[in-house]
């Protein structure tokens, strides 16, 4: 009748076990996988950014050197011209243009060449513009070159209205100074710096000490504009700095900056953060992909493993239950064996009485046959004997019925039970034995206890067993007493059997419900009684507990649900 129910419960149990296994099997590897992946990504990222930074630093350093080189070569060119020619000879246009062509053939960077006297008058010029005669005494570059004798300007517009910069050198001839100035082709100069590429977005450019672009910035930044990111740049006088900065639009970038000694400009090499991090992003994507693919594999395998395992556990559980019911049966049989000896003894007493009565009746018949009158007295004696025989037969049948009731293989059959009456019946079965051992059994079960729904036969087995144990415990005591008390709450009723007997050793108390554990002498107990009780009470949805103190007594408490839900 419980087949479908137990199947449902079985399936539920199965999926619960599987869920538990799955979560445990999956969680641990997943956490480990995450830790491993994130550690790897972390180290990869650190390494990657270090590498990018050093790459940028290297580029910045190389190009700074290149540009310094360029400046010093161009300066040397001019100094050489100034040194090898006199002011007077250079004033001549033919001489100047001759020298300029030689100069342009050594370096196409030169755009023009001019000669100035000590007042800053442009005395001779060779180049695409017409600049002779202008006075430069107030020009910044002229003031600077007077002081320093070599000057390289920032990019400026000047008289020609196009961005350019100049290199000027000072020459002192017979105590009078004159100046030589050359304009550098910004296009040519730009190409030196602008063509540097690192990754997709990596670029290099020059800014002066006020943050004005000296070369174009490929990602947007024209000559002579102010670099909006200038404030974020870090610099050190002699070495290349690399750092992670934030540009004016909020994007992050990796930068390397170095200072040019000759002009005080900054060499900036810069790469977008995401460009620099693109190998990292690829690696992370691959890692995530692997985690997902591997994870899917693990989940699949774990699912099958867990199913298999849960299946086996469920089977084992079913087997265990089977064993449990077999154990109950075995316990019952053992109990029957033990009891039948006692029962035989119980039956012998009434038989003995009956034999006496029959002998008495026979005697009376003999007397009558021998001639005694069949008077009222004789008849009275006879009927008394017959009554007595009837009484004794009833006694026997009570005993055998009790035994049968006990030995019957009982399917769990749920009926309404009045606890008070049930205990009364069970006590009646052991009362005689208790009486023989001089034991008082006090029934203090509340007659007002609610009816419960449970299996009477199984409960009978439980309480008989507990009572027999109690009798065994108190039988060597003079004032042996067994009390059966009760209590009730919303869900459970409590029936407690307390004795004042020998008590149970704490060591043994732990194992008391273990099958085949017995404290009785060999051959006296099977060790199945209490384990069977335990199995039955659990099976009926209740529980059984014990407290005991050596030489004071034991209390067995049986909690029974008021309505049993047969759990299988």
């Amino acid at each position: 009748m419980n087949d479908t129910g137990s199947e449902n419960i079985g399936a539920e149990k199965f999926s619960r076990i599987r869920r538990i296994i799955l979560t445990r099997v999956l969680l641990a590897p997943f956490i480990i996988l995450m830790i491993v992946c994130s550690t790897l990504v972390y180290y990869f990222a650190t390494n990657l950014f270090d590498r990018v930074a050093s790459e940028l630093t290297r580029v910045a350093d190389d190009h700074r050197y290149l540009i310094e080189q360029f400046f010093s070569e161009r300066t040397e060119d001019l100094q050489f011209i100034a040194g090898s020619n006199s002011f007077q000879s250079l004033r001549r246009q033919e001489r100047l243009s001759e020298i300029f062509h030689v100069l342009q053939s050594t370096s196409p960077a030169f755009l023009d060449l001019g000669v100035f006297d000590k007042e800053g008058n442009h005395v001779a010029y060779e180049g695409p513009y017409r600049l002779e005669g202008k006075n430069y005494s107030q020009a910044e570059w002229f003031k600077a070159v007077c002081e320093k004798s070599i000057y390289i300007s920032d990019v400026f517009m000047g008289f020609r209205n196009t961005p350019h910069f100049i290199i000027a050198v000072k020459k002192i001839e017979d105590g009078v100074s004159w100046y030589l100035r050359a304009t550098i082709d910004t296009q040519f100069f730009n190409n030196l710096v602008e063509n540097i590429r690192v990754g997709k977005t990596g670029e290099a450019y020059l800014i002066n000490k006020d943050g004005v672009f000296q070369t174009r910035k490929r990602s947007g930044g024209l000559l002579m504009e102010v670099d909006p990111n200038f404030k974020g740049y870090q610099s050190a006088p002699h070495r290349i700095m690399s750092f992670t900065g934030r540009d004016h639009q909020g994007g992050r970038c990796l930068c390397a900056t170095g200072r040019l000694k000759s002009t005080g400009w900054f060499m900036v090499v810069r790469q977008d953060y995401f460009d620099a991090a693109s190998p990292l992003i690829r690696a992370v994507m691959v890692a995530i992909g692997l985690v997902f693919i591997g994870g899917a594999g693990v989940v699949l395998i774990a699912f099958f493993l867990a199913s298999g395992l849960a299946n086996r556990l469920t089977l084992a559980d079913a087997e265990k239950r089977e064993m449990g019911s077999q154990l109950i049966m075995a316990g019952k049989l053992a109990e029957v064996g033990e009891m039948s000896a006692g029962m035989a003894h119980e039956i012998n007493n009434p038989l003995q009485v009956m034999i006496s009565e029959i002998t008495m009746i026979n005697d009376l018949f003999e007397d009558c046959r021998a001639g005694d009158p069949m008077d009222t007295e004789t008849l009275g004696l006879m009927s008394e004997s017959v009554d007595q025989i009837g009484l004794q037969i009833k006694r026997c049948s009570n005993i055998t019925q009790g035994l049968l009731k006990f030995a019957r293989k009982t399917e769990p059959v749920v009926r309404s039970i009045v606890p008070h009456e049930m205990i009364g019946e069970i006590v009646a079965m052991v009362e005689h034995q208790a009486h023989l051992e001089d034991i008082t059994i006090r029934q203090e079960v509340d007659p007002g206890l609610p009816e419960i729904e449970s299996d009477p036969a199984q409960l009978q087995q439980v309480f008989l067993n507990l009572l027999n144990n109690a009798i065994y415990a108190v039988k060597d005591k003079d004032d042996g007493e067994i009390r059966i008390t009760s209590d009730v709450d919303d869900e459970f009723i409590l029936l407690a059997i307390a004795d004042n007997g020998c008590g149970i050793d704490p060591d043994q108390l732990k194992r008391i419900f273990v099958p085949f554990f017995t404290s009785k002498p060999v051959g006296k107990g099977t060790g199945l009684g209490l384990s069977t009780c335990y199995g039955i009470v659990e099976g009926l949805g209740g529980n059984i507990t014990v407290t005991s103190e050596l030489n004071v007594g034991s209390v067995f408490k049986v909690h029974l649900p008021r309505a049993v839900s047969l759990k299988k």
Partner: protein
């Protein structure tokens, strides 16, 4: 035969009553006791030759009662009344000096026979003792006084 004094000890009252009636009918004067304690009291008060003693009784059980009887009245013969399941207790009883045992349930004639045998044995024993005493009296007449004095 008729002068056997029998005591039946059993906790089954009806058994006591009927058996007493049957025994008296057969000329055996019978007393009954429902417990070991009562049995010892009766033995103390009256003269009994044979005791039929149930092994399983509440209070003082058969074995203890037997021990007491044999201690105090070694000449009284005891027949143990045991069930099938407790033949062991019969063996214990015999070792402790019971004359015989009867398995429950048993016929009255069987009990009767064993009672008679027991009585015969007791009488034989008593005769033997008397004879020894007489012999001794004859050989050492003066010793009678010593003996009596000692007893």
């Amino acid at each position: 035969m008729s002068n056997v004094q029998l005591l039946i000890v059993d906790d089954e009252e009806r058994f006591l009553k009927t058996t007493k009636a049957l025994m008296e009918k057969r000329g055996i004067s019978t007393k009954t006791a429902a417990s070991g304690v009562e049995a010892l009291r009766i033995l103390d008060e009256t003269n009994v030759d044979v005791v039929i003693l149930d092994v399983k009784m509440p209070g003082m059980d058969g074995e203890v009662t037997l021990k007491r009887i044999k201690q105090t009245y070694p000449l009284i013969e005891v027949i143990m009344l045991t069930g099938h399941g407790s033949v062991d207790s019969a063996v214990v009883g015999l070792k402790m000096g019971a004359f015989d045992y009867v398995l429950k349930p048993c016929d009255i004639p069987e009990i009767l026979e064993k009672v008679e045998n027991a009585y015969v044995k007791k009488q034989a024993m008593e005769n033997k003792i008397r004879k020894v005493q007489v012999d001794r009296m004859i050989s050492h007449p003066m010793a009678v006084f010593d003996k009596n004095g000692k007893d």
